[in-house]
């Protein structure tokens, strides 16, 4: 009963619980939280306490003393550490309700990878309930991404969405509010970072951290050869000398470094087109493929997919928030007419 009363003081939320970032969309409003999915845990004897969550914890990654561990509780789009995820969600939910004087108990819609197992979905649901949610609904990420991107999901026409997240890439063909075909590959922004770290170690004999690799990807990363070549100065620990050294990387080198994960995504998209029913494939060929997720911001990724598939590929507006926004819209649909894509399982 008290949860219901507390629910009156809470707003419905759509949460994109991502491997890299967690975004929260407030129903009928906007994105109210966008923070890294990182939690810093401090250990004092046998007792563990949460030292920081989100941006503050992210700054600690790779810079923590012995008694603090910065954890990313989600891996490949699913929960890797249940309790830490619960604490993180609890923190985020209370943060977006900072005006309330009761502990919030909102209805929450969470986006899950389309190929996640029932166990993984159950873990996400329980985690949200443990964090104080009153009711929890689950929606598959590509569906949320398609709604958020503004695709005509309810029409009798095929729409293809490729959502490139931190841990996974979700590909789906949607028609009449249903997913006709979906595929999930465990390649995403994190794999791009790892590929850059590996490339630098192999070719420059230097070790760089994930945060540096991410910065390189954002600043000069490209998925397709571009006329202009970008450069960046990087500092890493030289493995032979053991001291930090500076060196310069260019965008062509990063293109080379990213080849393996990029090819995985290309193959998955081609596979989806092969499996797609012919009528829907014709619709996709006419309208094109829509890219969402943070990975869509990798320079020239749309160009690469265009060249590989021979189809127009477009990047959705504000691709990073498509999933969370789509979840929010789904919540609105849920109240108006029910929505068969949402489930409590």
């Amino acid at each position: 009963m008290f949860k219901k009363i507390r629910g009156l003081f809470s707003s419905d939320l759509s949460i994109d619980l991502g491997t890299a970032n967690t975004l929260i969309y407030l129903r009928d409003s906007e994105i109210v939280l966008d923070e890294p999915s990182v939690v810093a845990i401090r250990q004092q004897g046998n007792q563990k306490t949460v030292a920081a969550v989100g941006t503050d914890a992210k700054r600690m990654l790779g810079r923590t003393p012995g008694n603090i561990t910065a954890i990313r509780p989600l891996k490949d789009g699913v929960i890797a550490d249940f309790h830490v995820t619960e604490k993180m969600l609890q923190y985020f939910i209370s943060k977006v309700h900072n005006n309330s004087f009761l502990r919030p108990s909102p209805r929450v819609l969470i986006c899950v990878p389309c190929k996640s197992t029932q166990v993984e979905r159950r873990a996400i649901k329980e985690s949200a309930l443990g964090a104080g949610a009153r009711e929890v609904y689950l929606i598959e990420e590509p569906m949320a991404a398609a709604i958020g991107a503004g695709l005509p999901v309810d029409e009798a026409t095929g729409s293809m969405v490729v959502d490139i997240g931190g841990g996974t890439t979700e590909i789906a063909v949607i028609s009449l509010s249903g997913i006709v075909y979906s595929e999930s590959v465990r390649v995403g922004g994190d794999r791009f970072d790892e590929a850059i770290v590996t490339y630098v170690r192999r070719n420059y004999g230097s070790l760089i951290g994930e945060a540096t690799a991410e910065r390189i990807k954002q600043e000069i990363g490209t998925a397709y050869p571009a006329p202009e070549v970008l450069e960046i100065d990087v500092r890493g620990r030289n493995l032979a000398e053991g001291i930090p050294r500076m060196f310069t990387l260019n965008s062509n080198e990063i293109l080379e470094a990213l080849q393996e994960p990029l090819q995985s995504i290309v193959q998955a998209v081609k596979g989806a087109l092969e499996q797609c029913p012919p009528e829907l494939a014709a619709d996709v060929a006419e309208h094109g493929i829509v890219l969402t997720g943070g990975g869509a911001l990798l320079r020239n990724l749309d160009r690469l997919l265009t060249e590989e598939t021979g189809l127009p590929v477009i990047v959705a507006e504000d691709p990073l928030t498509c999933v969370a926004r789509g979840g929010g819209k789904a919540l609105e649909i849920l109240d108006k007419q029910g929505f068969e894509l949402l489930s409590r399982d």
């Binding site: 890299a20 939280l33 941006t55 900072n98 954002q218 943070g294």
Partner: protein
């Protein structure tokens, strides 16, 4: 004569001539760019003619325009804004900083929006609910006879209103703790959560085992709540050993046909008896009138006698719980 001369500007304010001029300045033919963008000829012609209605869904149209602009070296956002203005749609606010999937640099937390139109009404509604709750709790606190809480639940009767209000009390106390400490030590989490959960909070731990009583009460639907006996009394103590004040001159005699909970106080407020009776027992209590009596299971009492006269419990019984005061 160029394509621009042929097509002219769109009436909607979409500067399609700039697109064509940029393409021609790069020496790219329309056919080459169309093949490069993998667009159908209809869509490509619609972009260059500024015929925006032919571009289909806005999500695709914006993408086509962006791709076109990127290829000819124009700022795509300018043309997308023109497109949005032409079709009368508000664009999604794009982030200026480029963030990729692994990135997490923004970390900005915006406060909840300034409340939407209906928020004032919602706020008023919430305030009314809070006021009603507080009033209810205050009223309940003044009315509840505390020792009787959970009594009827034990004997299978329907829950009295006082009991419902008592269920609401523990979670309220837990609430205030939850507000002040959103993140606590991980080792304590399960216990703290249990305090906050309303249904769990009302489940009291069972008191010490009383095998003989349990066997007698097994037939009735026993709920999780147990009567909280006063510290002075022992619920399973024989009736003969019950604390009876013999100093007074008045006396009450109660005959039980079955097990029932009983609480009797004298004029001084002292509990003369507080516990369970046994089946078939006659209980005589002496003290100073008036006696305040609460019988947890009125139908388990065969008779009540005060100063030689029989007392009818019926007018004092509600939901099988009798509350009465006996005086001369």
């Amino acid at each position: 004569m160029t394509d621009h001369d042929l097509l002219g500007d769109s009436l909607s304010g979409f500067e399609n001539h700039k697109l064509i001029a940029a393409r021609e300045s790069l020496g790219i033919s329309a056919g080459a760019l169309q093949r490069d963008l993998k667009l159908t000829s209809a869509v490509f012609s619609a972009i260059e003619a500024g015929d925006l209605d032919q571009l289909g869904q806005p999500v695709f149209a914006r993408g086509y325009i962006r791709n076109y602009c990127n290829r000819v070296g124009l700022d795509p956002e300018t043309f997308v804004e023109q497109y949005n203005a032409a079709i009368g749609q508000r664009p999604v606010k794009r982030r200026s900083a480029i963030k990729s999937a692994g990135s997490a640099t923004a970390g900005t937390v915006m406060k909840l929006n300034p409340r939407r139109a209906s928020s004032l009404l919602t706020l008023l509604f919430r305030l009314v609910i809070i006021a009603a709750l507080l009033a209810g709790l205050a009223f309940g606190a003044s009315q509840i006879n505390w020792p009787t809480l959970g009594l009827s639940g034990l004997f299978g009767g329907s829950e009295p209103e006082e009991q419902q209000s008592s269920q609401a009390l523990p979670p309220l106390a837990g609430e205030s703790e939850g507000l002040s400490i959103p993140i606590k030590t991980m080792t304590q989490e399960s216990n703290e959560d249990a305090v906050v959960e309303a249904p769990k909070a009302i489940e009291l731990p069972k008191p010490a085992e009383t095998p003989d009583l349990e066997s007698k009460t097994a037939a009735v639907p026993v709920k999780t709540e147990q009567p909280k006996p006063a510290e002075k009394s022992e619920p399973n103590e024989p009736l003969t050993a019950s604390p009876v004040n013999t100093s007074g001159s008045d006396g009450v005699t109660i005959k039980f046909s079955d097990v029932s909970w009983l609480n009797i106080k004298d004029a001084t407020g002292e509990a003369l008896f507080n516990g369970l009776s046994k089946k078939g027992q006659d209980l005589t209590i002496k003290g100073k009138a008036p006696f305040s009596i609460v019988i947890g299971r009125a139908n388990a009492v065969s008779s009540v006698t005060f100063d030689g006269s029989t007392v009818d419990l019926e007018p004092h019984t509600r939901k099988n719980v009798a509350r009465l005061t006996l005086s001369r």
